[in-house]
Amino acid sequence: MDTTYVLDIYLPVVFAVFLAAFTLYIIRIVKGPSVVDMALAVDCLAFDLAVFIGLLTLYFRTPFLIIGAIALALWAYILDIYIAKYFVRREVGE
Amino acid sequence: MVEYIIQNYDIVTASLPGLAVLISATGAFTLPLLQLITKNRRAWEIYTALFTFLVMCLTYKLMFKVFEVGKPLVYTFGGWPPPVGIVYEVDRFNGLLGVVVSSIMFLVAIYSIKYLEFDDGVQWYYTLFLGLEAGMLGCMYTGDFFNLFVMIEVTAVSAYALVAFRRYDRIAIEAAMKYAIFGALATTMYFTAIIFAYGSLGTLNMADMALKFRNIEVPVTGLPFGIIHYGMALFIVFALWSFAFKAALFPNHFWLPDAHAAAPSSISALLSGLVVKVGIYAIARFLYTIFTASEAIASVHRLALLAIFVMGVSSAFLGAILMFIQKDIKRLIAYSTILNIGYIAIGLGLGSAFGALAATYHIVNHAVAKALLFMAAGAYIHYAGTRDIEKLSGIGRAMPITTLAFIIGAFSLAGIPPLNAFMSKFLLYGALIATGVLPLVAIVIIPSVIAFLAYLKLVYTIFVKPMPEEYAKKKIKDHPLLTGPVVILAIACILLGIGAPYIINNYIWPATQSLLDWSSYTEAMMQIAQKLP
């Protein structure tokens, strides 16, 4: 089943929406009054980038990008955990 | 290709350069396993000494083979012909340097046994030590300029870590930090230079690079991709800056006195004697073998030579003057390194065969004498526990043999005949006179005289002045493990000086010739590259 034409027309529209969302997230990262605000925005941005990579997989028709999405999701989680640990205990190891 | 190799050498002899580097790296890989099995530090020390000895034997065999054959020996890794794969290309020049590196590494490995007796964590020291040897030999042997980047990093990373080996010493950590930050900047600059070279030439092989300037078509890579004139100008500027940093030439010398003074003395001997030579070797290889006699970049080449010459002159004067005012014995010797690197750069900057000969001989002589000085100074520091020259006064009386060797090394570097560094300085005078501008000779004589005065003062303080009472109690004496390597190097100093005519005729001049001989360097590579489709 050939879905190329549909995707080629439709995906750029979705890309535009996602890019708009990215801009808003970046505004929050830059503005963010506290560290947790920034971390939250970076979080959302990373998860959205994972989706974006998935969409690029469809757009470029290369199957090799998708593994990057998984890695990105994990890295964002680490950021959260480390900031939380720092605020709770002020020492990473224990 | 196999016919070409088999007719001259058997496969094991052909793979000697690759083996030498890989074996010292394997030594570094297995040492952590050994330290888990046995906690006996004698075992680690003997293990390291054995590995360095093995590598030394391999490099000697390689050097004699290369001198016997006369042509550069090309070893293809994985069997891939040059522009595609990586090659080690050993001619007489880097064969000779490889021998210098591995011999001094072996002596320092023995010296470290006694010198580090009060330190903990020596297993990491020896691991990094073997890594440093692999890195330096790789830098010397490689025929691929991206591989050169990787090997420089191997050398550099182990050097940073070794400078910071005594990690509770404030000065050592600060020096290592400075060295590492600017060293990383320099290597990134070299990576940028590689980008320009790959962009404009489309190859990563050094011999192929030389052929591209002369518009000779090579299999697979073909002709240059961009305009080589400008691309190579950028390459030379970036690469030269980074090599000058590694070699501690004048504007980039600032890290050297700190790092070399703060490291353990055995490591200072390696850093001053050998690691800075990596930068010098790279400069010599690029300026003399690869960029010579090609009209495409002749003007850039001339400018680069001039820059090296000017940098050499300024570092010679700077090193000599700052050497005179030092109060710290190791800083004094470290500034002497800047001075001597300046001499080597002057020799290379002349652009004549005579100058290159003087530089080659001075590389060998300086490596031997400087390792000697640092190791002897390390012996004093090991017993006295201080680096201040005033506090060390008279300590030489308790260690007569070490001090005798120290005096030989110091006078050699100060240029007293018939010791070895005098011979190479004499060649340098000759090379400068051959340029026809006689006042230039002053740039060799003046720093030499200042250095002589500084050494004289040092020797006077250490040997002639009376010994304070606190040392008399400490039972200071010549320890065979500390003195042995020093004495061997002192004998080498004398032999290299007395036998200079023989050595120059049979080793140094052929080595210099093969440095200048770009055609056989490229032919050796082309012969194998013909196999490619």
Binding site: - | I11, G79, A134, Y168, A233, L234
Partner: protein, 270 residues
């Protein structure tokens, strides 16, 4: 310092403008263009060319093929750089009294909340599986030893923060194990590189060549695609990188009071 600063900015600007002027003459051949350099084309054409086995590597992943076969030496020593850097880190952070680091008391309050702990445990399993997957498929799909090792590195990183470093040590991932496995990985690499020499082949040789008697590493074992030596190299590098990261994180997470206590000895001595 201020004078240097004022001088430095125009200097950098000048250098950048100069480089751009030089580049605008087409120094790099106006790249990127529609065509690429012929060396790159050679690699693309030959690395999985089943019709010309003289020049092939046997891996559809051209990057891994180039990384471990055409330019294998670079990668072996790049691994060495990583290894030596980790050894350097261990050397800088070694303790005078190693016993100080061995006080392992895992307390409830070290860990974060229950929700985080449960989520982390699930994620840990997923991470280790993914990293092994990346390592074992490095010669067929993008990935390989370093990438897989970096993916594995997330596991101790997460466990240290969400639980504590004692949790990681209780799982058996101690620093001595990391030294042993790292050495093991590098010995695998060194042996795979050295083995062809015993068959009178070349160091780091992968496939059979007409000009070398070495028969080559197996491309397939029954149904498994191995791509010759690439698979073994990837495993070696995976062990090295993963365990190197583990050692780095275990050292970094040592609490600061251990070092303060350790440094007191030095101060009292001097």
């Amino acid at each position: 310092m201020k004078g240097v600063k004022i001088l430095f900015i125009p200097l950098m600007g000048l250098v950048v403008i100069l480089i751009m002027l030089i580049l605008s003459y087409g120094t790099l051949g106006y790249s990127p263009a529609e065509y690429i350099r012929s060396l790159g084309e050679f690699l693309l054409r030959q690395s999985f060319n089943v019709f010309e086995k003289e020049w092939w590597v046997g891996s559809p992943e051209v990057i891994t093929a180039t990384l471990w076969d055409y330019r294998g030496l670079d990668t072996v020593y790049e691994t060495t750089v990583f290894y030596l850097a980790v050894i350097g880190c261990v050397s800088v952070f070694r303790l005078l009294q190693p016993k100080l680091a061995e006080i392992t008391k895992e307390k409830e309050e070290y860990a974060l909340t229950v929700i985080v702990r449960v989520a982390t445990k699930i994620v840990l399993a997923v991470i280790i599986l993914i990293s092994i997957n990346i390592a074992l498929h490095g010669h067929i799909t993008p990935g390989g030893g370093f990438q897989a090792g970096s993916a594995f590195a997330i596991a101790p990183l997460l466990a240290i923060a969400a639980f504590s470093r004692y949790f990681v040590e209780k799982m058996g991932l101690k620093i001595n194990l990391s030294h042993a496995l790292r050495s093991l990985g590098l010995i695998i690499i060194a042996l795979v590189a050295l083995l062809p020499l015993f068959y009178f082949g070349y160091l780091l040789q992968n496939q059979a060549k007409p000009w070398s008697p070495f028969p080559g590493y197996p491309i397939e074992v029954s149904f498994l695609e191995l791509s010759g030596s690439l698979f073994h190299f990837d495993i070696g590098e995976y062990l090295n990188v993963a365990m190197g990261f583990l050692a780095i994180f275990l050292l970094l997470s040592l609490p600061e009071r251990v070092f303060k206590k350790d440094m007191e000895v030095v101060k009292s001595e001097s």
